[in-house]
């Protein structure tokens, strides 16, 4: 019962230790001028690397001893890959399309994917709501706050 759960926690702990290694490695890549040798730009990063390493080891130790989350702690039901998959698909689409298609259109797709992931069965309504929302925020940000979000296919119509 406990094993599959702790497996994730072991992986996470190893990930934290891995991050410590990356931070350490990148710290050694920072060139240090001898004037700052003692209190230079690497002192704090070194502390962070050491800190991450220590907490990573402690997490690993906890994970190997059965993990820190018990059955009652949290509802550890298996991941709903269908819902998560749709949300992730929306995010990937958004990253891919926001430059070529513009903010509004990419947002409508994101909105529709997320809504579908969360169980909506009305894609047309979702797209319409997403359009109004994205158009509204676009207008608010670009006209009222003066932020330039770039123009895509839809934005040029305004």
């Amino acid at each position: 019962m406990r094993l599959p759960k702790a497996k994730g926690q072991v992986a996470l702990a190893v990930g934290v230790i891995g991050l410590a290694a990356v931070v350490w490695h990148q710290t050694t890549a920072i060139p240090v001028s001898p004037i700052y040798a003692r209190i230079g730009p690497t002192v704090f990063p070194t502390m962070v690397a050491a800190g991450l390493f220590v907490v990573g080891l402690m997490l690993l130790w906890q994970a190997l001893r059965g993990g820190w989350q018990t059955e009652e702690d949290q509802d550890q039901s298996p991941v709903d890959w269908h819902a998560l998959g749709w949300v992730l698909a929306g995010l990937v689409l958004n990253v891919a399309l926001i430059k070529p298609f513009g903010f509004t259109l990419a947002s409508v797709l994101l909105f529709a994917c997320v809504a579908h992931g969360f169980g909506s069965t009305r894609p047309v309504r979702d797209a319409a709501v997403g359009f109004v929302l994205a158009g509204g925020t676009y207008f608010g940000f670009s006209r009222l706050l003066g932020l330039d979000i770039g123009t895509g296919l839809v934005e040029r119509l305004f």
Binding site: G8, P41, V43, W68, S77, K99, S107, F118
Partner: protein, 499 residues
């Protein structure tokens, strides 16, 4: 007297029509995001940070403070009617208040929460008004070593006290400090952790991190467990006017809650959970009917809600006087100060009296607005709860995207946002607190600056932190906060059982 004159001037600032409007927008927006599960004041203020380019500092901070306050009022509504605590500080309200709602006393629960928040908030603001100048007086004598020690204490306290585990809190903290280190080192001009990406030279924007952790991470987490658990909204039944007995049982709990919440919030450790739990415990002890606790005792809502609000006001004390944020929201407000080129700290009160006192005065005004907005309009707020989840989370992600993409139009920022969202998902899934990451990211660079300053003054002698009595004391407390519980647990585990 000086304080009162300054406060009076603050009211002159806050009462100008445009600032009143900012306060109204802030408290309304704050209540709405507080009511919506999954949104919070930290996320909302992060998304609104771009207005610091357009709006003057006073207006922006009045808006942010309104959101901060309003979200607490809204959060209690959700915990009472939905039994889903919007944030950890309302866990108790979710237990006791939801019981009351199920017993048909939802109206009274909402009323005692709102009025208690108002009473405690007012007490907290009065405390802030008079305590802030005193602390400033004291803090003016701090040197870099003291500041660094104070920040270390705040780091340790928010990581160890907030959340359930010191190790996980510290993991989150170190991750945040790491994110804060990315970019060009301001003292030497060396790029750090940029991995060869030009976009990272300026560092990662705090908006990307806050929105990623709070909005994207939360949405992914909810999607992953979408099939399980539908929340049931309990309709408001019972009059929102409290009976004489409700008043009698509530008012002492409000005052005690405020007395517990404000000092704990004002400490550099901060955190709203501890005072709410403490207040609940105290009320249960003092109540003539302790058997009602767990079944909908009104004191169990009144006390913790008051404590929550008072401690949130208390958090503004170290924030405004020392530049020391002890909650995620306060940390994001600190970064708003930075984007105006203002450094919160003891000099803030001298250099920007109109800003500080205007902000404090607007808290008084916002608190009154919230009381008026919340109770009579409760039906409206409940309706927000009924927004279908698919539309709500679709909307959250669209806002998250525009908030990030809009500031830089960089696809790299968008990728970073989603990656940090992935980290946020793992943190939620494996029960890591997110606030230390935000605080570490914003306070980390400042701590490094003070550290290097102190070391420069001492010509590289690291004992400077231990030879200054105040800094040594603060560091000793920090070590105690981390070590004491572990040592205690170790001792308990290894002690032979008495028989």
């Amino acid at each position: 007297m000086e304080t009162l004159a300054a406060l009076l001037h603050g009211f002159e600032v806050a009462i100008s029509p445009i600032n009143l409007l900012w306060a109204l927008v802030g408290v309304t927006l704050g209540t709405a995001v507080g009511v919506l599960p999954g949104l919070g004041p930290a996320l909302t203020i992060a998304l609104l940070l771009p207005i610091t380019y357009k709006v003057d500092a006073i207006g922006a901070f009045i808006l942010f403070a309104g959101i901060y306050y309003g979200a607490m009022y809204g959060g209690s509504t959700t915990s009472i009617l939905l039994n889903t605590p919007g944030e950890s500080a309302t866990i108790i309200t979710a237990i006791e208040g939801n019981r009351m709602a199920r017993n048909g006393r939802g109206g009274a629960a909402l009323a005692t929460a709102a009025i208690g928040s108002f009473v405690a908030g007012s007490i907290g603001i009065i405390g802030l008004t008079f305590l802030a100048p005193v602390i400033v007086e004291f803090a003016l004598r701090f040197g870099p070593a003291e500041y660094f020690a104070l920040m270390v204490l705040a780091f340790v306290a928010v990581s160890a006290v907030l959340g359930n585990s010191t190790v996980r809190g510290l993991t989150s903290l170190f991750f945040g400090i790491f994110l804060g280190l990315i970019g060009v080192d301001l003292q030497t001009g060396q790029p750090r952790f940029t991995f060869g990406l030009l976009e990272l030279l300026d560092g990662i924007n705090v908006i990307v991190v806050a929105v990623g952790l709070f909005a994207v991470g939360e949405t992914l987490f909810l999607a992953a467990r979408h099939r399980y658990g539908q929340d049931e909204i309990i309709p408001v039944r019972g009059s929102i006017w409290m009976t004489a007995e409700d008043w009698k049982r509530s008012w002492k709990a409000w005052l005690r809650g405020a007395a517990i919440g404000f000092p704990i919030g004002a400490m550099p450790a901060g955190g709203a959970e501890v005072p709410t739990f403490l207040s609940y415990f105290v009320e249960k002890k003092l109540s003539p009917k302790p058997e009602e606790f767990g079944h909908g005792a009104i004191e169990g809502v009144a006390g913790p809600e008051a404590a929550n609000n008072a401690s949130a006001t208390g958090v503004l004390v170290p924030m405004l006087t020392l530049g020391l944020p002890t909650s995620a929201t306060a940390a994001i407000m600190l970064s708003a100060f930075q984007s105006y080129g203002i450094n919160p700290g003891p000099l803030l009160l001298q250099n920007q009296p109109a800003l500080v006192w205007g902000l404090i005065a607007s808290l008084y005004i916002g608190n009154v607005m919230l009381l008026v907005l919340n109770l009579p309009l409760i039906g409206l707020w409940v309706r927000i709860l009924a927004i279908p989840k698919p539309l709500l989370y679709g909307g959250i992600l669209v806002f998250a995207t525009i908030g990030t993409y809009g500031i830089s139009q960089s696809v790299i920022d968008l990728v970073l946002l989603y990656l940090i969202g992935g980290v946020g998902y793992l943190m939620r899934r494996y029960d890591f607190p997110t606030a230390p990451a935000i605080i570490g990211m914003i306070l980390g660079p400042l701590a490094e600056q003070e550290f290097r300053r102190a070391m420069q003054v001492s010509q590289g002698d690291p004992t400077v932190f231990l030879t200054h009595p105040l800094s040594a004391t603060l560091l000793a407390i920090a070590v105690l906060v981390v070590a004491a519980p572990q040592v205690y647990r170790f001792y308990r585990r290894n002690r032979p059982p008495r028989d």
